[in-house]
């Protein structure tokens, strides 16, 4: 833990957006409460996940050292930050970057944070997030404050929440787009962040925006909500809208999203997402986490019933000005260039430059301007590279840079005449890797490097393939150069292997009595057309033979393909059996352990292979109901009321005590009535009508005494507090919270609480 955490808190006091500052203060309190054992382990796990603080491999406090599983003797080994998760064990922090948009100042802060709190590496994910690894939980509030200072939040980056809203990184500059989707992605991201209707899911929920239907930059077909820009002419005027699909997802069983609306008008983007969130929260699976994504609700209901339920829910929504207030501005929003347009030299006599231009530079729809893809091997970059990228972005553009789902950055609005100079400075920073978007630009999830679920080393394999391809990639046939490779460490598809020409995912097999890492080969998926097709699993091959398998596949493709036949079409035509036959010998004749021990270890890891380090994943989060969250919040607020009292701030102590009672009362009311407003009068009225008058809240021994505490506090809400009134009110608030718990438990036993919460 950093010695300077309190200094940062003091230094940034009053300098952060108020809402972000409050959230982070609350999270810090929750950390303290968990340390004191006052928050349940499971609730704290979901709480930290919803703040982006994720578990990491070995955080159960044990690790396989190549010979045996050993305990890791962390100093604070009794306390946990989730079920089976040791407090001191390092974790990952996921940082949401809506539509991948960043600016130079944010890049610089990322560089500082990677150095000071992580292992020095910033990782770009397959959903345009950034991640730090090996972070201590006690440092996360400081990290969050320093991120908030530059307008970045980690809120709802993990857990059962609305994840990062991704978007095409070429939005606004792509020649093939219908229109710039950036403002819509930004608006949806802000709207759903912390929205009360998006807090009670059984699993995560992923939206994306794409500017066109033909490319893969937004991957709409594999998202829970996929918006693809479209236009139509009505009465001679162009109208904007979105082809809107729902219920897509990868995971172990991939699912193509279903068409919800051929042309969803912009003013319906936000409310329809809200209606879907409410339907998903109410009807989505909560007990069986492996069937809790939206795709399973669609599978159960079918798109027609799903649509019917959502449209019915849409009618019930109270109008919200945020649904439309951004739209006028969205129509006119345009990024501006820094330098005048210019012609781009496609070659300067330098073969590296020519290769880089060919794959990494794309013309914008604005003549004389180009985008430059900064290809990052395995999505990783150093603090020095981040600072260089910040300087470069500021030097050549007005500060417009985005992350991509291929784990790269895209610099936008580069004048053609600046491209040679851009190449030079990127080269100096080690950021001019050629081959963006081609076979060399391999995507990989963290796999066994840091993920608790990793089975095989996806990054180790990707690094090995990249090293081998670097030697020969540019001599290969163009059809092979254009292929995409994506690698996942397990079947959960974080590396998006289903939508790649050539995909691999980690599996385990027993060979000669030993565990051996393997990769299942998945061929013929389609990144284009917004993840237009999913690949076919062919055969599992030992990890150390995957490079040979890749050579075999590409040679087979070149030999057998028809003229200009794309890989997806080739796989479909040739069929699984014939391709498998071509690879079959790679599954045979495995060496004895003593003859080749390296066969029994994974790429980049000399330990004899074992699956003993696989833990319990946190992707699914913990199913914690809205009631549980609200009650945890009530307990936090009353805890803070006591701290204010101790510090002599009597007014704040009294107000917080009442606020804690209201929060608990609202939690109970929401079991029966979701839409209760955040208004003390309404909460108390609803509570009185639904729980006091009906006698549901009456304690078997104390009768209505605890409810009277609430009513009295409400009547005296405007009173000023003295030491004589604040302390009793805090005590009454604690008793009221306990009474709410008791009432809830009685209702559960009587089967009265299950209709709306499903847990």
């Amino acid at each position: 833990m950093k010695a300077s955490n309190t200094r940062w808190k003091d230094r940034l006091d009053g300098k952060l957006p108020a809402d972000l500052a409050q959230e982070i203060d609350q999270f810090e309190s929750q950390i303290e409460l968990r340390r004191q054992g006052k928050i349940d382990d499971k609730i704290f796990a979901e709480t930290r996940l919803r703040r982006g603080a994720y578990g990491q491999r070995y955080d159960n406090g044990q690790r396989y050292d190549g010979k045996q599983v050993r305990q890791l003797a962390f100093p604070e080994d009794k306390n946990t930050k989730g079920p089976g998760t040791v407090w001191d064990a390092p974790g990952m922090l996921r940082i949401k970057i809506p539509f991948g948009g960043m600016n130079p100042r944010q890049l610089e802060v990322m560089a500082d944070l990677a150095e000071e709190y992580a292992d020095g590496i910033t990782h770009v994910t397959t959903r345009q997030d950034l991640q730090f690894h090996f972070v201590h939980i006690d440092d996360t509030p400081t990290l969050m404050r320093r991120l908030a200072e530059v307008g970045i939040t980690t809120r709802e980056a993990c857990g059962n929440s609305v994840r990062n809203v991704t978007g095409c990184p070429y939005s606004g500059v792509c020649p093939d787009e219908s229109f710039d989707v950036t403002p819509y992605a930004r608006a949806l991201s802000l709207f759903l962040l912390g929205h009360p209707d998006a807090q009670n899911f059984g699993r995560k929920f992923k939206p994306t925006f794409s500017g066109c239907s033909q490319h893969g930059c937004g991957l709409a077909a594999m998202h829970d909500l996929g918006y693809t820009a479209a236009t139509r002419i009505v009465d001679g005027k162009e109208q904007r809208g979105f082809r809107f699909v729902v219920g897509g997802g990868l995971g172990a069983v991939p699912n193509q999203a279903k068409l919800f609306d051929e042309f969803l008008p912009p003013e319906e983007v936000l409310p329809m997402a809200q209606a879907i969130a409410r339907v998903f929260a109410r009807h989505g699976e909560k007990k069986n986490r492996s069937r809790a994504r939206m795709k399973f609700l669609l599978r159960t209901w079918g798109i027609d019933k799903f649509k019917e339920e959502v449209l019915e829910e849409r009618k019930k929504l109270r109008d919200d000005p945020r649904w439309t207030e951004y739209i006028d501005q969205a129509q006119s929003e345009v990024e501006s260039p820094l330098n005048p347009p210019g012609d781009m030299p496609e070659t300067n006599g330098n073969v590296e430059y020519t290769r880089w231009v060919k794959a990494n530079i794309r013309p914008q729809r604005q003549e004389g301007y180009f985008t430059a893809t900064v290809a990052l091997p395995l999505g990783d970059l150093t603090p020095d590279q981040l600072r260089a990228l910040a300087d470069i972005t500021a030097r050549f553009t007005t500060g417009t840079i985005r992350t991509t789902v291929e784990q790269n950055f895209v610099i936008r609005w580069v004048s053609g005449s600046d491209v040679p100079a851009l190449f030079e400075v990127l080269s100096t920073a080690g950021l001019a890797q050629p081959g963006a978007g081609n076979i060399l630009d391999i995507v990989a999830c963290p796999g066994t490097d840091t993920c608790k679920l990793g089975i095989s080393s996806s990054r180790g394999l990707a690094a090995e393939l990249r090293t081998r391809l670097e030697q020969k990639c540019f001599e290969m046939d163009q059809a092979v150069q254009d292929l995409h490779i994506k690698v996942s460490g397990c079947f959960n598809s974080c590396g998006q292997h289903h939508i790649s020409d050539i995909g691999f995912y980690g599996v385990n097999r027993i060979v000669n009595g030993y565990q051996v890492p393997h990769f299942q080969v998945v061929l013929g998926g389609q990144w284009e057309n917004n993840a237009g097709a999913y690949g076919l699993p062919i055969v599992a091959i030992p990890s150390k033979r995957i490079p040979d398998a890749l050579d075999r596949i590409t040679e087979f493709y070149l030999r057998m393909r028809q003229k200009n036949e794309r890989f997806t079409a080739f796989v479909q035509r040739i069929g699984k059996a014939q391709i498998r036959q071509a690879l079959d010998d790679l599954t045979q004749n495995k060496p004895e352990h003593d003859d080749d021990p390296s066969f029994y270890s994974d790429w980049g890891d000399p330990r004899e292979y074992s699956t003993g380090d696989i833990g319990i994943g946190e992707c699914a989060g913990e199913v914690v109901t809205a009631y549980q969250f609200a009650m945890t919040e009530a307990e936090r607020v009353v805890f803070e009321a006591q701290l204010y009292l101790d510090a002599g701030n009597l007014q704040r102590a009294g107000k917080d005590a009442f606020a804690a009672m209201l929060t608990a009362a609202k939690a109970l009311v929401q079991i029966q009535y979701d839409d209760v407003a955040d208004d003390p009068d309404e909460i108390v009225d609803e509570f009185r009508e639904r729980f006091y008058d009906t006698k549901l809240f009456l304690d078997p021994f104390a009768g209505g005494k605890f409810a009277q505490y609430l009513f009295a506090a409400h009547e005296n809400a405007d009173a000023s507090f003295t030491a004589e009134t604040a302390l009793p009110l805090i005590e009454e608030a604690q008793l009221f919270i306990e009474a709410v718990h008791s009432c809830y438990n009685r209702m559960r036993s009587a089967g009265l609480s299950q209709s709306t919460e499903g847990a």
Binding site: M1, K2, A3, S4, R7, W8, R11, R57, Y58, R63, D65, G66, K67, L72, A73, F74, P75, D88, A89, P90, E108, A111, D112, E115, E116, D119, G120, I121, F134, H136, P377, L378, D380, L381, T382, D384, Q385, R387, G430, L431, D449, G460, A463, R466, T467, G604, D605, P606, R607
Partner: protein, 191 residues
């Protein structure tokens, strides 16, 4: 001024003569064989990142890396845990840990000719709140670091060069007129 999270980078003398994957293997052995008196957790291979921390040994109290930042390989020690005591104690702990790691690496890779510089290393503070890279920090910290080095190296024949880029961490490069005897320094720091 409190100097916490002390980092030390001891440069490799000349070209790195060892295949980087050998460090991956060796660091795994450190974990398995409890080579250091601290909690070691995992090894990370970042060879694919240009001029980065090529191979890292992640620990609870500290990380060790065969680091290539600035295209100069060296053993980089990053003290992560806050440590009680004086600034001198913390500087001594970090320098001792770094030199101890260098000694172990040199012994293991003697056949490959691995050798760390005896005349140049870096000291920096990995905390921008405690030690922002400013003239004020330099003025406050430099006398303390000089005093510490005089004791640790047992002479004052060294120069300190400050990297004044305000975006970077507070960092001093130490150049010595005569080669540093790692064993002697370790003996001094441990007594």
């Amino acid at each position: 001024m409190e100097l916490q999270h002390v980092n030390v980078k001891v440069f490799v003398d000349g070209e790195l003569s060892v295949d980087l994957y050998r460090f991956v293997e060796f660091f795994h052995e450190w974990i398995r064989d409890d080579v250091l008196d601290e909690l070691l957790i995992d090894v990370v291979d970042y060879q694919h990142v240009p001029a980065g921390p090529a191979v890292m040994l992640i620990g609870h109290e500290a990380d060790y890396a065969i680091d290539n930042a600035g295209h100069r390989f060296g053993l980089h020690y990053n003290g992560k845990a806050a440590i009680d005591g004086s600034n001198e104690d913390r500087l001594g702990q970090a320098l001792a840990a770094a030199l101890n790691a260098c000694t172990l690496l040199e012994a293991h890779f003697a056949a490959e000719g691995l050798r760390f510089s005896r005349t140049e290393f870096e000291l920096f503070i990995n905390d921008r709140a405690l030690a922002p890279n400013t003239p004020q920090t330099l003025a406050a910290a430099q006398p303390q670091i000089e005093a510490f080095l005089k004791t640790a190296l047992n002479h004052d024949q060294f120069t300190l060069t400050h990297d004044s880029d305000p975006r970077r961490r507070f960092r001093l490069t130490v150049n010595t007129a005569t080669p540093v005897d790692f064993d002697a320094v370790l003996n001094t720091l441990r007594t």
